[in-house]
Symmetry: none
Subunit: 234 residues, 2 copies
Amino acid sequence: MAQHIVIVEDDAVTRKRLAASLRKQMYRVSEAENAGQMEEVIARDPADLLLVDINMEGKDGLTITREQRAASKVGIILLTSRDDQIDRIIGLEMGADDYVTKPFDRRELFARIKNLLARISELSEVRQKVEPVAQVGGWTLDHLRRRLVDESGTIEPLTRAEFELLHAFFRHPGVILSRDRLLDLIQHRQWDPDNRTIDVLVGRLRKKIETNPSNPDWIITVHGEGYLFAPPDI
Amino acid sequence: MAQHIVIVEDDAVTRKRLAASLRKQMYRVSEAENAGQMEEVIARDPADLLLVDINMEGKDGLTITREQRAASKVGIILLTSRDDQIDRIIGLEMGADDYVTKPFDRRELFARIKNLLARISELSEVRQKVEPVAQVGGWTLDHLRRRLVDESGTIEPLTRAEFELLHAFFRHPGVILSRDRLLDLIQHRQWDPDNRTIDVLVGRLRKKIETNPSNPDWIITVHGEGYLFAPPDI
DNA sequence: CATCCCTTTTTACATTCTTTTACAAGTTCG
DNA sequence: CGAACTTGTAAAAGAATGTAAAAAGGGATG
């Protein structure tokens, strides 16, 4: 799901303009005009990144930074005015990750946002130890290099779509999978009745793995329902 | 080899005058009029010492200090104006090694430079030994010298961009990285759909590290998504 | 400062991959 | 059996990638 950015800024014009352009970049954006609103928002939907104006009525940006940093590892970028160097430094010492000076350059701000979000998601990225290979029948699917190896070690290269589809089959042996489900498994895409992508891909996979593609042993057609991956050894 | 000093100063007069007199003292001197230029310079040829003006358009001296200090143990001397005591103090807190106030006395500055460089070179032997090299498969990526060494010890020189890209790959093995992300990792640059820089660089890297560049084992293309670094031993 | 050399980026075109289209062939069920 | 529907598949269209070569930078040198 899209990453969640919360803008905390009491000037409505700046806030809304910023929110609009961030939404255009496909971020999920919430707006708060003060610390209280922000807390409500993130209680409901935790933020990945806070964009906080340093000068606000009530609880200011530095206080927010200190409090949030103590509570979580959310990314924090401060919006400061150009001449407020001291605030900037203190902000960083309090745990903000970055700052931009107002009036800010859009592209610079966006670059910093993207950058920080990437760093953050890297940290939380639990390196899921994927099994490097899956063996079925005589075939070995090399997950790491996304290719297929036969018993003798010969490499059968797969395109991205072929690999994704075969991978989906390997994960669901002996189960009938609808075209809809398969399309979802390989690319999170919506299926519509005259989408023939899966059929074409099945045809190509059969050419690569079946002894006799027109009389398949591995990928079986189930008329009206979908396809069934039927490896010999399950 | 002579020690490398980088002057980061946007006033050309001050900068060039300083550079000239430092060159007379047999230092290797590079000039940068802003943070971007500085980064390019030290990417190509790491600095022993940065001389940074604290007041500059764009990224200022304090920011540079913070960033560089986080990345390395390079020596940093700040050039401050006489009345900016706060900046000086903050600068030192952020990790600058020393500062001089403008207008500065030549002999004083040179004394401080000599002093700091001496302290650094004392450390540098130790630092070189612990300087990390990354080993993956049969390759060793030498961070210090920015080059690649194979199992037999043969050196494969890399250009700056090639090194940065390979370094990014080394840091993210087994993960699909989009072109956007890669460009960000190697130079904090915005990606646009018809930027082919990454593709070209991947092509060049493949020529250097793949047995068969048109059938790569290490850097795998994932159509529509990006590239995947697949070392044999993760 | 002009010039050279090396690196990086852009451009242009060839190639490959994905999806769609079109029609042939197969299946179901009255 | 035959109409209605589903599947197989070649081939076209549309995108993305590979890559040589031109253009643009950038630093070094005289």
